[in-house]
Amino acid sequence: MKLWEGLEQDLNYNTMVSQRGVVNLYHSDAQRDAYARRGNMMRIHGIDAELLDEAGIRKHAPFLDFDNARFPIRGGLLQKRGGTARHDAVVWGYARAADTRGVDIIQNCEVTGLIIEGGVIKGVETTRGTIRAKKVGLAVAGNSSRLGEMAGLRLPIETCILQAMVTEGIKPLIPGVITFGAGHFYISQSDKGGLVFGGDIDAYKSYAQRGNLPVIEDVCEGAMAVMPMLGRLRVLRQWAGNVDMTMDGSPIIDKTPVEGLYFNGGWCYGGFKATPASGFTFAHLIARDAPHKGAVALRLDRFATGHVVDENGQGAQANLH
């Protein structure tokens, strides 16, 4: 979060970081207890978290349907410093800053193979020639298994598609991000005014970058359940992106069995929010050949040894979360 807060100054680029809060709604005593526990865990680690009751949520987001018959809103967990950023601007800002600092970014250049001699990485083959290197980092969201296969690795990853939708632009309505976990639905508002929302992944493996209608229907049902006013809006566009789902719902930032080859991937549907931390800890791993203290648990071999990360708490198969 602190990396996000300093990002615009660091990159000298307006990435539209907008810290208007992220709230997770709860609907029952059991969910409240779970969120209280999550909030306490966050605070122990020095992260802001505030458990709001129904009155608190009514003040924060008065437009929600509090009296839904199945999921009446009883409160929520608020992280006040969370929020939104413009994803294009984050990419542009990083690209420009990296270029300014001497990084070569080669566009329209596909990696076709990895050069490995005696278990040590020597470089990459591309459609525009060979690049020799002593260290290679794999950070290829949506294609981790394809690149892993080039190194002879079989990864604990399934690639699925996550759909999102944007409505026509309206006046400022939604503060920050609201998640309705019980209905598998989240929503925020872009600075242009469009409401951005989504929900479940399509549970089957796919690289197609387009989804199917049942999930769209499910997401829109979630929307209508928590914010009936959304029924008045038109969806302008909809898309799907490839997401690499790991077996425990947490990412992998680790060395691989190939010496000099490092892997960062399996961010499931939550990669964007971790962009600065992901890059920072991956750079640390590559530069020092040892994991950053914030990423020691994100090991590649944790599934074999039983040290899975229980952050998602939903089981050991990608289609469960």
Binding site: S145, R154, P156, Y204, K205, Y207, F303, A304
Partner: protein, 82 residues
């Protein structure tokens, strides 16, 4: 996406639920490495793949569906057998 069930004919994929890659029978006596590979590791093919699908809202039979992960086309369906 529509799947041609051998019993029910072509049906919407919404009637089915997916189990995952058709990885074959569990490895008996293969040791921890074999079990780790069976439970956690995936081929995650870019292109044709075989998966177990369950026709939950139909004949309730398990199927092996061959599907292309690049464009969702269904290449073949057969009944799952051990």
């Amino acid at each position: 996406m529509r799947i041609s069930c051998p019993y029910c004919g072509e049906r919407d994929a919404e009637e089915f639920s997916i189990q995952g890659e058709a990885a074959g029978p569990r490895p008996e006596g293969g040791g921890i490495e074999a079990f780790h590979a069976y439970v956690h590791l995936r081929a995650n093919e870019y292109g044709p793949t075989k998966e177990y699908w369950y026709h939950a809202n139909g004949c309730r039979r398990w199927l092996v569906v061959s599907r292309d992960t690049r464009d969702h086309s269904i290449l073949g369906v057969e009944l799952a057998r051990r």
